[in-house]
Each structure stands twice: as structure tokens, then as C-alpha cells.
Symmetry: C2
Subunit: 597 residues, 2 copies
């Protein structure tokens, strides 16, 4: 049975020593987030993750969810009690404005807590996680009456939320959407249609479920310009906030799927269900994208979370499993064999995962601070710059953290040999669960296209130039530092590859857009390597400071310096291959006629 310890110390180090959260004290909610409060909140989230959610992870996988004859859905044993603890602890609203019952704390806390919940039990963590996404969309786009009606109980978790985009014939291409909305005299709409792959669409954890649904208003234009967003409660909400009659939305069936069995993936049938418009008519996509962007960051966190828990269990196994002797000489002569952690290829695997985890966590933290500045700063220019950076990095975080997070669960499983393939050891569940994160909220190929096709060129490439500028200034600054020079010099090479690839697109993709499409995934990963490399330099800088100051945990910080070197030496050089691929262009990729396949 796998175990899990939430890496609280690592989050505190990042917040306090790497990103200096105290410097953000002018943002609303940050002054309240004292170091003591942050630590207390994270330790309590850790306890909940370790003691309550982790033991339910395998139960959720084996039991799955069950749809009863009346269309209701039950979650696995223990999920209801655990969710009650989420509600009682106010975990969903940690970063929601206090006006709606939240605590208004930095979103870095929410992302960190979500990492713990997800490491402990990804299928479970999706219920509160999707609710947070729905809250974000309502906050950004709904009218005050709708906010007042729905948000308070969603923020507590008494009601949960979903997002309903996909239909059987359309996922990525929402322009093909067929669900219909017919306007009623009272200003409401009647929604009809079938939605598929709706996570947490029906379940027994909350007394109501608030669906956000994309549909086309009668007479609206075809394509993406005729799509509107609606809020559709499972059970009608009366004006006094009490629950009324069931609305016309039901779960038609549950999908049988590869993993995340504890989360109910529903086919949802809307049959004249009453809904209310969020935002303006025919502007549903942009409203939904608010939710998607929050959700994409959250999905990136899932990649990290699965990598972390898989790593921890691989480490435990590598220390316990006795097999063979170190090639450099016997290390544990009192044992019948050495633990496999002595073998370089095992070390290489563990170091690779570890080097990802720590930098990915930093990148999420970096992005969540940008998010808070973008949402809370009173300074237009700062807000703009933060929004630029967040928009640029969101597809990178979603795509790269889930691709590598999944790959890391596979590597961690590999450490177990045949025992990793056996269900009861739990490693194969991590692989199956982590797999979905590469797919949902926009498959990773779509993230790459979002990066290359939208984010790069937006506002004349302002976001990229700002990022490269920040990077260049940092590298130049640290180049004079003997500890940092061996790290920032290769980072400069990698950043040069990123710049060169960006230039290549500018010069070659305007006339031939296929040149951008064929290189998009490589570009996203090149970007990810540079971003993670940058994070390693920031981490190393702070760790070196701790070592120099003779911190009590000096070995912990020395380990970070070694891991930084490992990343820079062994993982970062991949940027050269990514660049080489991009610069070959689309010719050999696109040359074959469709019939040749």
C-alpha cells in the first residue's frame, strides 16, 4: 500500500526563501498570510491528506462510483466523510474573497494544498478542485444576483461545481457544439443537449451540484461566436436560497475508464433544464476560458502531485529492496544484498523525478504569485505584466508538468520491477490516474498550439519578451557569483535556444503556419525546460544562502544544490534536440497525403 508525506517544508522554503512572499504584503490577503499562519494551514492540509485522503485512494480505485437505477451516483466508501472534512475545514475557499465566505489567502496556498490533496487521492481531489474552477468563472463573469445565489454555498463545498463543454462529436472544436438554450419570459433559459466526460457530474457528496454549461442560444451564429455560458443547478434554488424542485438534468451513465475511478465521469443529459446566462450572450467561450485557465494551472499541479507521490514510494522501495551489490563495491555488507538505491541507474531515475518535482513546485508557486498580482494588485502595469506572464506560462505548466509528471509515474513504477505492475502495490494506479491529466482541460497538443499560436504573438510578443528579459537580467546578474555561474551559464545557452526557436517561428511560420504546428510540442517542452532550469537557479540561490548561513538543515539545502546541478547537467541539454527538431520545419511531417496513412 503506497504512503504519502506532504512536502510542507519544501513549500515553506519556496514561499519564504525563494519567492519572499513577504514582499507581496501590499496585495489584499497577503498581510494576513503570516509565516505562522501559512505553516499552520499547510500542516493541517498535510494531516488531512496523509491521514484521511491517502487511505481512501486505493478504495476509490477498486470500488469506483456506482450509478443507481434512479440516476443517482454513489461515491466510494469513505468519500462522503472525507468530503465533509473538506467542507468543515473551509478548504475550498482558502483563496476566495472574504465577501463570498472565503479566506482571501494567497492562491499559492490553494495550489499547494491542492497538490497535497491530489498526491493523496487524485480522484477525490477533483471534486473540490472543479468546484474551485466553477467559483472562479462565476466570480469573473456572473452577475451579482447569480454570485449571491450560488457562490456562498459553493465556497463552503455544500454545493459542488462542474464544467460542461464536451459533446460526443466535439471536444477541442467547440464551434461544433449543439446543446441549445431557449430564452424564457422570466429571463431564464431552457437548456437541452448531451454533454460527455463531465467529471463530478453527479455524486452523493453535496446537496446540490452547480453545472456551468456551454450551449447555443436559439438563433445564435454558428461556430464559436454563438456560444453562451449558463449556470444550471441540479436542484433549483429558490429566491430565499432554499432548495426547490429537481431541474431537468440527469446523469445518463458513467464512463468506464483507465483511472480516476473514484471520480464520477458522467454523461449528462439536459432536457429543458432551467439555466441562467453568465456574462453576455454569445460570449460564453471567453467566460469559460477563465475557468479553463485556472483549471489548467490546477491540472499542471496534478502532474506534479502524481510525480511527487510516485517518487516518495519509489524512494521507499529503493531503500528497502535488497538486490545485487553496488558496482563500485559492497555498500551494506551486513545485508544479504545492497538496497537498490545504490545502483546508478536507479539513482538516475530518482534524481530525474526529484529534479522535476522541486522545480515544478517552484514554477507553480511562481505562477500562482503572478496570478495573485494579476487579480489583486492596484497597479495597472504590474497587473498587466503578471497577467502576461501567467498567460504565457499556463500552457507550459499544463502541458509540460502533466507530460513529465506522467512519465515520472511510469519511471517510479519501473523501480518496482514486476511488483510495480501488481495492483496492490499502488504504483500502477498512479500511472493510470496521472494519464488523464495529459488529456483533459485541453489535450497537451492543444496547450502547445495555445502557446505557439496565441500566446507567443499576442501584443507583439510582449509576454515572451518580458520573460526573456527577466531571464536575461537574472543570468547576467548571477554570472558574477561563483556558486551560480555553473548553473546560469548553461541556462543562458538554453534560453538562447528558446529565443532562437521563437525567432525561427517568426521568420518561418507566418507564411507557412504548418511550421509552427509541427514544432509546437517541441517548443512547449523547450520552454518548460528553460522555465524549470530558471526555477532551479532560483532554488539554488536560496539554498546556497541557507548553507552559507549555516542553517540547521544544511544537508537538506546541500541536496538542493546537487539536484540543481543534476538538472542543469543532465536534463537541460535536451533543449538542443528540441530546437533542432523545430528548425527542420514541417516538410517531412506534412508531406505524405492523408491516404498514405
Amino acid at each position: 500500500m503506497p504512503s504519502y508525506r506532504a512536502p510542507v517544508d519544501d513549500a515553506l522554503f519556496l514561499l519564504n526563501d525563494v519567492f519572499h512572499i513577504e514582499r507581496y504584503g501590499n496585495l489584499p490577503g497577503f498581510a494576513e498570510a503570516t509565516p505562522d499562519l501559512i505553516e499552520a494551514v499547510l500542516r493541517e492540509a498535510a494531516r488531512l491528506s496523509e491521514d484521511v485522503l491517502t487511505p481512501l485512494n486505493r478504495i476509490g480505485d477498486t470500488q469506483g462510483c456506482t450509478r443507481l437505477a434512479d440516476g443517482s451516483v454513489t461515491t466510494p466508501t469513505g468519500f462522503r466523510d472525507a468530503f465533509k472534512q473538506i467542507v468543515d475545514g473551509g478548504w475550498i475557499g482558502i483563496s476566495v474573497p472574504e465577501a463570498f465566505g472565503g479566506q482571501g489567502l494567497p492562491s499559492a496556498l490553494t495550489e499547494t494544498i491542492n497538490e497535497y490533496f491530489c498526491s493523496a487521492n487524485m480522484a477525490f481531489a477533483m471534486y473540490p478542485g472543479l468546484t474551485q474552477g466553477a467559483i472562479a468563472a462565476l466570480l469573473a463573469h456572473a452577475s451579482q444576483p447569480l454570485k449571491d445565489r450560488y457562490l456562498p454555498k459553493m465556497v463552503t463545498g455544500e454545493w459542488t461545481g462542474t464544467m460542461n463543454l464536451t459533446e460526443p462529436h466535439c471536444g477541442t472544436d467547440l464551434g461544433l457544439l449543439r446543446s441549445k438554450a431557449v430564452k424564457q419570459d422570466d429571463g431564464s433559459y431552457r437548456i437541452s443537449g448531451t454533454k460527455i466526460f463531465i467529471s463530478a457530474g453527479e455524486h452523493d457528496l453535496s446537496e446540490n451540484i452547480i453545472h456551468l454549461v456551454l450551449a447555443r442560444i436559439e438563433g445564435a451564429p454558428e461556430g464559436t461566436k454563438g456560444i453562451s455560458l449558463f449556470v444550471v443547478p441540479k436542484i433549483s434554488v429558490n429566491d430565499d436560497g432554499s432548495l426547490g424542485a429537481p431541474n431537468g438534468v440527469t446523469c445518463g451513465s458513467l464512463e468506464e475508464k483507465m483511472g480516476i475511478h473514484g471520480n464520477a465521469t458522467c454523461v449528462m443529459n439536459y432536457d429543458g433544464a432551467v439555466g441562467w446566462l453568465i456574462g453576455a450572450e454569445n460570449h460564453g467561450l471567453s467566460a469559460m476560458f477563465t475557468m479553463m485557465n485556472e483549471a489548467r494551472l490546477g491540472v499542471g499541479v496534478q502532474g506534479l502531485a502524481m510525480s511527487e507521490v510516485a517518487y516518495q514510494n519509489a524512494v521507499t522501495y529503493a531503500k528497502d529492496r535488497l538486490q545485487g551489490r553496488a558496482i563500485s563495491g559492497v555498500k551494506y555488507p551486513d545485508k544479504p544484498a545492497d538496497p537498490i538505491i545504490v545502483h546508478p541507474d536507479v539513482r538516475r531515475t530518482l534524481m530525474t523525478i526529484r529534479a522535476f518535482n522541486e522545480a515544478a513546485r517552484a514554477l507553480v508557486m511562481w505562477a500562482s504569485l503572478k496570478s495573485d498580482v494579476a487579480h489583486r494588485s492596484g497597479d495597472d502595469k504590474q497587473r498587466q505584466a503578471a497577467d502576461d506572464a501567467l498567460g504565457l506560462m499556463t500552457p507550459v505548466i499544463k502541458g509540460v508538468l502533466t507530460d513529465l509528471g506522467f512519465a515520472n509515474t511510469v519511471s517510479a513504477q519501473q523501480m518496482f520491477g514486476g511488483h510495480g505492475y501488481i495492483a496492490e502495490n499502488g504504483m500502477e494506479q498512479f500511472v493510470r490516474d496521472a494519464r488523464i491529466a495529459m488529456i483533459y482541460e485541453g489535450a497537451n497538443g492543444i496547450q502547445a498550439l495555445d502557446l505557439v499560436g496565441r500566446k507567443l504573438g499576442k501584443d507583439g510578443g510582449r509576454a515572451l519578451m518580458e520573460f526573456l528579459g527577466e531571464l536575461g537580467a537574472y543570468i547576467k546578474d548571477k554570472n558574477a557569483d561563483d556558486t551560480m555561474k555553473p548553473l546560469v551559464t548553461p541556462l543562458g545557452v538554453a534560453a538562447g535556444h528558446l529565443q532562437q526557436a521563437s525567432m525561427w517561428f517568426m521568420q518561418n511560420a507566418l507564411a507557412k503556419p504548418d511550421n509552427a504546428g509541427a514544432g509546437a510540442t517541441d517548443y512547449m517542452h523547450l520552454f518548460g525546460l528553460v522555465a524549470l532550469g530558471y526555477m532551479w537557479c532560483r532554488i539554488a540561490e536560496a539554498a546556497a544562502g541557507k548553507v552559507a548561513a549555516g542553517d540547521g538543515q544544511v544537508e537538506r539545502y546541500r541536496a538542493k544544490l546537487t539536484t540543481a546541478r543534476f538538472f542543469i547537467e543532465r536534463m537541460l541539454p535536451e533543449t538542443a534536440t528540441r530546437l533542432a527538431r523545430i528548425e527542420t520545419g514541417a516538410a517531412s511531417t506534412m508531406e505524405l497525403p492523408d491516404e498514405a496513412f
Copy 2:
């Protein structure tokens, strides 16, 4: 429901046009293998795979195997009938010498047929596949009486075979093995112990199961030098060949696992079971390695097979699924959207898998021809050279073809978006099934160590020097050819990286073996890229010949030239990153103390 078409034309092209099988006519069994016979055999294997085995694949996954109260095991519905067709068709013994009831045909045929069976139904294909491995070990090491007693019915498939190595506390490190053998007065042994992860250990497909079992004879030395190999039938075989009483071996339980549910993975309990020694006392490991080497080639074929069937289904989906419009302009104006195959990132994925499949198939063919020369040639020098090449390439084929084969099933699943995560579409089964191939028959990290630690240095590096020599001569020869030059020039660069990495190990790993261990996996993949690149050049050469000759299927061969370019331009450059990693050495990998993890 996934479908499958066996790529017979591709195998015929490789055998006839790339590898010129007619040039091997002096080897026993090759003269009989006329082009017509080969095609007829492969077409029949294709039919069996497509019509009989493919429809049973998902049934096998959902039903799995069942252990009854009496310890017997039933296979999924339809497996018995299908296996009867394997027996009736003589498929197991295609390449077994005629003296034991086989057909003595080239082993390239067996590998190709196994690819088809495995693409169609990997869990099923393991039953005949493991029997072939057991046959190989008996052929190489058993006494004539044992051969005569067991082989004929194993060759037909009336009896199946297994290999029993792993015990709960030992897998890779067989020196820790505890199973015991006690010699009896009649020359037999009584075997006792517990073996785990025994594929096809118990089932209802055959009337007897012949277990090959590693055990330690009473009083034998500790470690790997005291291990012997035994043949232990499930049911005793009388001197007249009839079946006698059940032997003391039973299936204690079935493992619940990630995939290959249709294959029974057994815990086997040996309780004084009667066995006979194969080969000499205490020389069991080397005998088992004969079986392992055959099996490792077969596992590499599984990686290819899963990649091929996943590719075919991804292509079908990419042509059917309408979503979005081509960025270079609408391609199918009569449809509501373009099929996703128009999108460059989808193309990139499909081309990557395709470029692997065709070259991997060639590499398997190349190795199987070496195997036949090594086993059948009358010329000592040729036999030696072929054996060198085969030994060198076996870990590369096992490790690289299963790593990339698995990665390709994941990429193919990704093409389906959310639909790939749903069980009924079958793509997620390919991922789960393919995963085991990276683990069993020596986890891929062990393959990398076998390559770097054993194969490279063996006989003063003779095998590597021969391979590099062959490669160098080929590149030099083709450099004068305008069609081939753009392919062999980058191949020369990649071969240079391989040579440089090999030199680096010679200079840096003798004193510090960790430097070899830390670079082993990267070296294996670097080797794999060079080998696949070499195969692409050979394929392109033959394809160019077909195009020049105005072959009727000229489009098919033009597609191969494009795919060759894709591989050389976009996949081969990864050798530079692999080399860079190797040359960093073990320092940052090994620096942390065990406690830091």
C-alpha cells in the same frame, strides 16, 4: 472497438527487398522458405490474428483469468478455441528443427508471426510465446532423453512451457534464490519453493505444462554459482509418453495486475515436485540465459507489436474524427470540420510512431537473420560474427523497442483525447498491456547494464567494433549516392556520437564503474537511435530502388522515403543529448547520501 490489419506487405518488403533473404539460401531451412511459401504463411498468420485473436483481446482484458477452488485456472472465453487453432496450424514450431516436429523455417518468420499475434492479442500470444522460449532452452541444453520426452508435444502446443525464475525476495538478483532441489536415487530431484510472476503458470489451454525452474541443489554454493535448471512437468510423463500422476506443483494464486489480464500470472508453489536437471549442476543460469535471450528478442517484438496496433487505430481515428480546420486552410470544405489528421501536431505524432514501427520491424528482422546464421551456419567465423551482433543488439532491442513501443501507445491514445481514456475504445488497454514489456525478462535498466557492463567489453569490444565497422563501411559506400547522402550523413554524425560515448566509457568507467551505470540507459537509447537510423537507410535504399524501377506501389515506397527523412531529421538528433548526458558522468547522480532521499 480497436481493429488490426497485419502489415504483411511490409514484412515481405523487408525480407525480399531490404534483407534479400534469398542470399541466405545455404542455411538449413532457408531454401524451403520460398517467397511464395513465406507469403502464404504470413497471410494465414494475418488472417488468424485479424479474425480470431483480435476479437478476443478486449474479452481477455475484461474477463481475465480465474483461479478455481481446486487451484485450476480458466482462461477467458474463446481462448481455448483460439489456442486449438494455434496447435492445429503448427504455429509454435514454425522455426523449430524438423527433428522435433517443427518446420525449420527462418526465425524471421516466427518473429513476424509473433508480432501479428501480439498486436492482435498480447495476453494470448504469451502462451505460445513462452512455450517457444522453453523449447529453445531445452533444445540448447537438455539431454537427448529429456528432449525426446518433452519437445515434440511442446512444439505442437499440446503442452505449453513456462520459465520460473523470480521469487518474492529476488528477481534481478538471482543469487538470492532459495528454491531447493534434493537429489533422488533415480537421478531425479525433488523441487521445493515459491515462484512468483509466472506467466501462463497454470491455465486450461493445454493438457500439460512444462515448467523450467531455477533451484539450488542441496549443498550447492551460495550466490549465482549454485543455481541449477530443472524441467518440472505439471503432470508426470510416463516412459511411454503418456500422462501419469499430478506432480507437486500448484498455482497458489493469480496476481491482480495493470494489464495482460488474459494471461494468468501465477504464484507457483513447488512442494517436492519431481524435476530433472537440464545441463550441468550449478550451471542453471547460463542455460536460463539462452531462454532469456530468445525471450528478450520476443519482448522487443511485443513493444513493436503494441506500437503498430495502437498506431493503426490512431490513424483510423485521426481520419474519422472531425475537429477544427487545418491552419494552412480548410482541407475538407464539404465536411463540418477537417479530420484531425490535417493538424501538424497530430501528423507529428503519427509520423513519429510510424517511423519507429517500420525501422523497429527491420531491426527485429536483421537480428533474427543474425540468430539464424548464429544457429545454423556451417561457417565458424560467420557464426561467431552473427552471434556477436545478436548478443550486442538483444538488450537494445528489448530495452529500446519496449520503451518506445510503450511511449507510442501513450501517444496513440493521446490522439483520441478523452475518448482514449475510455475503456471501450481499447486504446488504454494497449497502454496497460504494453507497460509490462519494459519490466519483464529483465527490466530495461538491466538491459542497459547488460549492454554497457557485459556486451560492450566482451572479447575486447569485438562486437561493437564489428557493428561500427559495418556501419562505417555502409555510410561511406552510400555517401556517393545523391538519394542516400542526406540520410547517411546525419547517420554518420549519430554513429560518431555512439563511438564517442563508447570511448568515454572506456576512458572513464574502468576506474569509476558508476560512470558506466549512470550513463547506461542513455547509451542504450543512443545505440537504439543509431540502429534504427541504420535500418531507415537500408529501407530507404530499397525503397528508392523500387521507385526508380517504377514499381506499381510506387506511392508506398515514396512514403517510406519521406518517413526515412522524418526519422533522420526529427528523431535521430536526440543522440546529441544522450551523449551530453553520458559525458557528465556519475557525479551529480551519485553525490547525495542515501539518507538524503
